[in-house]
Symmetry: C2
Subunit: 504 residues, 2 copies
């Protein structure tokens, strides 16, 4: 079949809110459904498709990958992409139920679909993603963990693969409590709840504490996942202003005026800014929290990922009244696919969270818990952490140097002392979502700053993750970003510019 | 220290709602906290403790195990149980926050704490639990899965251990769709969502469809996890009456009168009764569902665990209008610790569930998904299923024979053709929760029928799981149950009996 004919009538609209790859997939899907592209037909190679439709190769790859996921095409390595036989099963089914009318009204996070597609999209060879907060897969200590697990296998009983307590695999709760205690953060097993990633810990906390219209204090900007969860639960967010200092006067004002349920914070190497709460601020915060019986959620994924010296003691370590709930995770220290994190809190909190967790998934995955337990038993974390700290510092330096070299005055930043991100501040005429759209054809991505502000505030910042790629790729990524910045700046200076058009 | 002195002043009250092991643990904990039992002291051996306090050995074991979990004691194998140094950290903390006033009002399932403690309590040597729906750990195909994984390892990339799409590990979504298609249940990957056990699938469905005061139809009795989730979400449950026939006239009446959002059912080997919906009933149900645009949730953990011939085609297989959402799981077929199940539904439903799932845990555990994928790729399920079907049939027969032999007229039942349970009907003078309390000293457990009825209906039935133990142990378990039945019956005939007192 003639390729031009195959693609005839496909009109893409970059101005539309639907991403280009989805527009392409939908158009091809329609042609497959009405047999204008027959079963068995070979689709144009990705490179050809991207050329013919004037889109990036990543967009073409994503379109085919979606069609494959829908079972409409299959890829044979070396030969190409073909329309599958039986590629239209149940087509008639899906249209008969008015699903959108049947669903309960749902919260739709302003930027959630873009974030999901960033996480889900396959990374093409030529793509440099600085978006997701993903450690480099090359650093995942898979071999170390395999050996630790093999050596500890004797201690595992077949029954350990059955249903276990909602609170977690008891050997892990013990070894985790011992590990935290060894880090001067005393814990007993009944203060530990194992969760399926710290995201789940936060979810359970929100379920357990928040009713619609409850007040919650957050910093601005802050972790986008926390904003989304809290907004979805109907919380009213009280924001503390941007800046490196915690505005304690405003915090106390909020406490007196609104009696908020929670204060959510990342005290060390905050996502997205990388800032660290000073020791004096921590103490003053806890003094206020104790006085007003405020529950403080300390989300702590990054405190062990410092580049120079460790951050001050955590809020949990300084906690004298038991009101701090700490969230920990192995996603950044070991690898995200473990989906294993923990909540460290007073036993009544652990108990309440476990009641909620029982509904959500009965208990977290046993295998991952055995793996983490084996790693803790063998004390293999310190060596691994020393390695990744060294590597991330190199990468941070490489990204920082590249920004200075290629972007110059067009982007400013402060060098973070830990974590995975550089928080870049753009010229106020540039909208980060617009820059993201301009950056796509250059094969790079990042997260626009807007995502990290509650109340849909407009930001002129972007979050760049330096953990995923090596120094050379990072320098190349920033070189491309500088080009996109040039294009965006040039477009801004034209009066008819399309600035402000959202990309989703 | 003298053991008698150590235990002095401990008064247990079996009539109290607090379980005995918790009463013991609390009493010992108080003595450790006020140093009346000093750090380093050796506690009496479990057997001694049970003798001195007049409780079962299991109760003593559970009490020590709870103290160990709280970090108050530690067990040295071969030497005994000792009060830990630093056994009172953060004691002062937990009391300062008024946690109960801070939590959002939560749903408390009437029997959830008993179920949780049944699942969580360590199985003592002399304990025969017929409570949890747990496959026998001896049947977990750990070796088969290890080999399958080893052979398929080449296909796994380090990046597969990173963050993946919320919908699931794409290779698994593909192999699962292919497997279901091979079972005459056509599926494409975009109709499959991987979830952390089918419990999570149900949780996400309830989140996506149900608002407070929505109507939902359930059979009576039905799976207790479904009742709890729906009640917690504020749904109003419309129940179809007990019995082997689906009351289709009442179902249609409900559909017209209340326009319910969902009908939740287990069509094959229903938990707890083991009953199977006949083919004609399935067709008529679907006719009604199509006419009224009713979403049918078909929870299907047991259809492959038949003892004789397979059940009729599933509702999903017969679904002509796309309104059936099917839940599947590997917990019963492989092992529960995988926490891997799936939802099979129209793509708009999968998409909505994935939005909710992103909040709950981003995505399910990668390792478990790789394991299941490897097992499906190697087609190793059929052989394993053939083995467990054979074994479960033997066990069902052994339990059935023992009930006839030991319980006689005191318990009636119908022989189930699949699944893991016998549903025993007691003499109406006996309350199952009272029987459970009487059964504990004999070292057996089961689930009282009340848990499977919405609206707190009083039942005279009990659910007995025959999957966990071998034929000999099952016969012994039923022999002990018969003894407990005798005690309960004798107590009932006394006018001053304490019948009706809840055990929790």
């Amino acid at each position: 079949m003639d390729i031009t004919k195959m693609l005839s009538g496909i009109r893409l609209n970059p101005a539309q809110s639907t991403p280009l790859y989805l527009q392409i997939a939908t158009a091809l899907s329609a042609k497959i459904s009405d047999f204008s592209i027959p079963v068995g037909a070979k689709l144009p190679p990705e490179r050809e498709l991207s050329r013919l439709l004037g889109v990036s190769r990543t967009t073409a790859i994503n379109a085919y990958s979606l069609l494959e996921e829908r079972g409409l095409v299959s890829t044979k390595i070396g030969s190409g992409t073909f329309v599958s036989a039986g590629s239209t099963p149940n087509q008639s089914q899906s249209t008969q139920m008015p699903w959108d009318q049947l669903f309960a009204p749902g919260y739709k996070a302003p930027l959630s679909s873009i974030i999901r597609s960033i996480i889900a999209s396959p990374t093409a060879d030529d793509m440099i993603s600085m978006a997701a907060g993903m450690p480099d897969p090359a650093f995942y200590p898979l071999q170390m963990i395999q050996s630790a697990l093999d050596r500890n296998k004797r201690a595992i009983d077949a029954a350990d693969f059955g249903l276990i307590a909602t609170e977690g695999y008891l050997p892990l709760r013990r070894s985790l409590a011992a590990w935290q205690t060894s880090l001067d953060n005393p814990a007993t097993p009944d203060q530990i709840l194992i969760v399926s990633g710290s995201q789940q810990g936060l979810y359970l906390l929100v379920k357990s504490f928040i009713e619609p219209r409850d007040y919650v204090i957050v910093e601005s900007p802050t972790y986008l996942g926390a904003i989304q969860l809290l907004e979805a639960a109907g919380a009213r967010l009280l924001t503390l202003p941007p800046g490196n200092k915690l505005d304690l006067a405003m915090l106390e004002d909020y406490l007196i005026r609104y009696r908020p349920k929670l204060f959510y914070t990342m005290s060390s190497f905050k996502n997205p800014t990388g800032s660290v709460m000073e020791l004096a601020e921590r103490r003053e915060l806890l003094r206020l929290a104790e006085k007003h019986r405020l529950t403080v959620i300390e989300d702590d994924p990054y405190s062990l990922l410092y580049h120079g010296s460790p951050p001050p003691p955590s809020l949990k370590q300084l906690d004298s009244f038991g009101g701090v709930v700490q969230l920990g995770t192995f996603s950044k220290n070991l690898f995200p696919g473990l989906r294993t994190g923990w909540v460290h809190a007073a036993p009544p909190v652990i108990n309440r969270l476990a009641q909620e967790k029982q509904f959500v998934d009965l208990h977290s995955n046993n295998l991952a818990q055995m793996i983490v337990h084996a790693a803790l038993e063998e004390n293999s974390l310190p060596l691994h952490l020393a390695m990744v700290r060294r590597e991330y510092k190199k990468r941070r330096n490489a990204m920082a140097a590249a920004i200075k070299k290629y972007c110059g005055a067009a982007m400013r930043f402060e060098l973070p002392e830990g974590g995975l991100y550089i928080w870049g501040r753009l010229n106020p005429t540039i909208l980060p979502t617009e820059l993201l759209r301009r950056a796509a054809p250059f094969g790079i991505s990042f997260i626009p700053g807007d995502a990290f502000y509650a109340h849909g505030a407009v930001s002129h910042e972007i979050r760049l993750c330096f953990a995923t790629h090596d120094e050379e790729r990072l320098a190349e990524g920033i070189r491309r970003l500088a080009k996109a910045l040039n294009v965006a700046t040039a477009a801004e200076s034209l009066p008819a510019a399309s600035a402000g058009r959202p990309i989703i």
